[in-house]
């Protein structure tokens, strides 16, 4: 397979996952912001911050929902906005159309320009349905991939890109919780803290699954355990790392050769699997998240180098 094809497949899956994760972030921000007594719009600011979009604003700017809609949904020049992720995912797909099935291509091609037609006010008015639509685009693509794509290395590159991006998106969501500081009058484990944590779960469509696992009691430790360390929930960090390990293992088999990225993913999986949520809070949630994010960035680079698309 052409290295360029691998590159495009990997990034196509990443961009689509990123579009979805930005949609989930915004949904979470919306939920946090409407909590009783939401705090000085810190919620939106933290969302802008975890997407790396703070350079678009003055340091002390007050960030409102309309700013988020403008820059994280519609702004085609912001690389993490939903619109630019959808455009880039489609461009990746278009340049390697032969590596996709017709259904996968149609999923990418359908409605890729829809967001051009909105201004901020309209997009705000229809925000919920836009966010749902974005999630559906990503799900349709995944479904088409799951049901019809030949299981050769092309498929593995798509899944590697998807798993890597998803791990990072969960980490970023968790970091929002870190940035949304509790007012001094509130206590950790208090009402507001509780609602913020459940918003994280909600954004990851994980509430029901969480109940099944932990029986309905919310606690920051258990939610962290669930989103970082649960090996059965497909939006947990460790689950994504397991997926990466499996897919990279298949690539090593196809190629008859292990590369530095294989050693790295093994180390990441075993280090994460040893942890408890107690460890994570002792070492600092933010620190653990940041370290895992930087490990995963390095892994992305090693994957590209291993398969000649770096």
């Amino acid at each position: 397979m052409l290295s360029r094809t691998a590159d495009n497949l990997f990034w196509l899956a990443r961009y689509l996952e990123r579009a979805e994760s930005t949609a989930r972030l915004i949904a979470m921000g919306q939920r946090m912001a409407i909590l009783p007594g939401a705090h000085h719009r810190e919620e939106w600011k933290s969302i802008i911050r975890v997407t790396g979009s703070q350079h678009l604003f003055d340091k002390d700017a007050v960030i409102r929902e309309s700013d988020v809609v403008e820059h994280l949904v519609l702004n085609a020049d912001n690389p993490v906005s939903i619109r630019s992720c959808l455009i880039k995912a489609r461009a990746n797909g278009k340049s390697i159309r032969t590596a996709l099935t017709q259904d996968m291509w149609e999923a990418l091609n359908e409605g890729w320009r829809n967001l051009e037609n909105y201004d901020v006010a309209e997009a705000r008015a229809q925000l919920a349905s836009i966010l749902d639509w974005v999630k559906q685009r990503a799900m349709t693509f995944r479904g088409a991939t799951e049901s019809g794509h030949l299981r050769d290395e092309r498929h593995d590159f798509i899944r590697v890109g998807g798993a890597l991006e998803r791990a990072q998106s969960v980490l970023r969501l968790l970091d929002v919780k870190y940035y949304v500081l509790l007012p001094e009058t509130d206590v950790v484990g208090g009402n507001r803290d509780h609602y913020q944590w459940t918003s994280v779960l909600y954004a990851l469509s994980g509430s029901r699954a969480y109940h099944h696992v932990y029986g309905g009691v919310y606690s920051p430790w258990q939610i962290t355990d669930f989103l970082m360390l649960n090996r059965r929930f497909p939006r947990s960090v460790l689950y994504c790392l397991d997926q990466l390990s499996y897919r990279l293992g298949r690539l090593a088999q196809w190629h008859g050769q292990r590369r530095p990225c294989h050693a790295s993913i093994d180390a990441m999986v075993s280090s994460m699997a040893e942890k408890t949520s107690g460890d994570i809070f002792r070492q600092g949630l933010h620190e653990t998240v940041q370290r895992t994010l930087s490990d995963s960035n390095r892994l992305g680079i090693e994957i590209a180098e291993a398969y000649h698309f770096g």
Partner: protein
């Protein structure tokens, strides 16, 4: 008065169009227009679009599709088939000749200047013989019809004629939407074209290739207007679609960069112009090219399809000599006629053209896509005068032809069936043998009375049926 292909001399529907006539009556115009919308939705979804450089607007415009097929009888096709194959052989023989001894020039049949001073002539090719002596592996012959038995060649395309994906997709859509029309099996199939193309490309593998040839399609990239077609053909042949940056040449061999490391490439069906394929030999400022590609080609490490310099055979000034080529190389008379053409490089012709421009169609020798031409009878006096001034300034750059009464075919209008002018482009494949699928691309001028069928100027496409005997 243009020949309307649906009717015979007495105004009755010709037998070959009877099923279509019946179908139109059954479905009704409203029904057909609804089906057309469905067809367009399918085209849009699967992404068949084309871009036109410098026109602005939507870069991924849909090429208009007309539901009513254009139909040729088996007998009509027999003539076309023989004529097209004959032309493909003669054009390749001509290319071999002008890059070797130039016998046709020595014999005084063609002037040396229009060959050797032609921008499409590549001196770098002189003395080199490509595998199978094939220069143009896909010859697209543009044909117009002016009467029941009268077909004429408008121009030849020896480099990389585009549009074949529309031939295949138009048929795909028609069979998907109207299976009944095809159920009787009277329409000759065209869907083996990609197989034929792959066979032809493999037949011209280079001397250095000892195993099963590795074929690739080389595209300038996804912004190219014909990118859809490039990816479509690569997909149907099951070969890689590569961009120049995916290739490199090393010591007379060409490799593509894969996830497994380098892999040899034997045959390149390239959809990039000569000037841009290798900056070491052709345009040094080309960012598209693969340095060393041409060296590998001349050393027999890889085959380029079409051969660099093949374009000299489809130049509009060369075109006038094709019947002579057929006589000279094949010892036959041309089965398909040329359109009488005045070559403004000749003083007598030029004088005639300037005097009669209001009755003629004049074109730039090197132009294509329907640009830079004038249709005398449809132009204003001022336009004619301005064009005449351009011819006077640079006569060798222009040719002129009579305004032809291009045939018309039934076309779906909003309120009924209308007559629209068409042309026809079949695709002849040349490997060690000739292959020609029974079909081609019919382009239709959708504007009433218009003779310009180019997709960049309001033209559309139709499915083309060749009826089996």
């Amino acid at each position: 008065m243009a020949f309307y292909e649906m009717l015979d001399r007495n105004g009755a529907v010709r037998e070959c169009y009877a099923p279509v006539q019946h179908w139109v009556e059954q479905t009704g115009i409203g029904g057909l227009n609804r089906r057309l919308e469905e067809a367009e939705a399918i085209f849009r979804r699967i992404g068949i679009t084309f871009a036109v450089y410098g026109e602005g607007g939507d870069p991924e415009r849909l090429i208009p599709f007309d539901l009513l097929p254009r139909i040729f009888t088996a007998l009509e096709w027999r003539t076309l088939d023989l004529g097209i194959r004959q032309r493909a052989r003669a054009l390749n023989a001509f290319l071999y000749d002008v890059y070797h001894r130039g016998e046709i020039i020595r014999a005084g049949i063609m002037p040396a200047d229009i060959v050797y001073r032609n921008a499409a002539y590549k001196p770098e090719m002189a003395g080199f013989t490509p595998p199978g002596r094939v220069y143009s592996h896909i010859v697209g012959v543009d044909i117009v019809r002016t009467g029941p038995d009268s077909f004429q060649v408008l121009e030849d395309n020896c480099r990389t004629p585009s549009g074949v994906s529309y031939m295949l997709e138009n048929r795909e859509i028609m069979t998907r939407m109207f299976p009944d029309l095809f159920a009787q099996g009277v329409v000759a199939p065209v869907d083996h074209y990609p197989d034929d193309l792959l066979k032809s490309l493999k037949e011209v593998a280079p001397p250095a290739c000892k195993d099963e040839p590795v074929v690739v399609v080389l595209t300038p990239g996804s912004l190219n207007s014909a990118y859809y077609e490039h990816s479509f053909l690569a997909d149907l042949m099951g070969v890689e679609l590569v961009e120049p940056a995916d290739l490199y040449a090393d010591d007379g061999l060409v490799f593509m960069k894969t996830t497994y490391g380098p892999r040899r490439v034997d045959v390149i069906y390239r959809r990039i112009d000569d000037d841009y394929i290798d900056p070491l030999v052709f345009r040094a400022d080309s960012l598209l090219g693969v340095p060393g590609l041409f060296d590998a080609y001349r050393r027999g490490g890889v085959t380029l399809c079409s051969a660099p310099g093949a374009g000299v055979a489809d130049d509009k000034a060369i075109y006038t000599y094709v019947p002579d080529m057929i006589r000279f190389y094949l010892g036959e008379n041309a089965i398909l006629e040329n359109i009488p053409t005045w070559n403004c490089a000749k003083p007598d012709d030029c004088a005639y053209v300037l005097e009669n421009l209001h009755d003629l169609v004049a074109k730039e020798v090197h132009g294509s896509g329907g640009y830079g031409m004038i249709i005398g009878p449809k132009a204003t006096k001022a336009e004619v005068e301005a064009y005449a001034a351009r011819i006077r300034a640079n006569p060798a750059e222009f040719i002129a032809q009579p305004t032809l009464a291009l045939s018309t075919v039934p076309t779906l209008g909003e309120t009924g069936i209308v007559e629209r002018h068409v042309d026809f482009r079949p695709y002849c494949l040349v490997g060690t043998q000739l292959r020609l699928v029974p079909g081609g691309l019919t382009r239709v001028a959708l504007t009433e009375g218009s003779l310009v069928v180019n997709s960049s100027q309001g033209g559309g496409v139709k499915d083309t049926w060749i009826l089996q005997a």
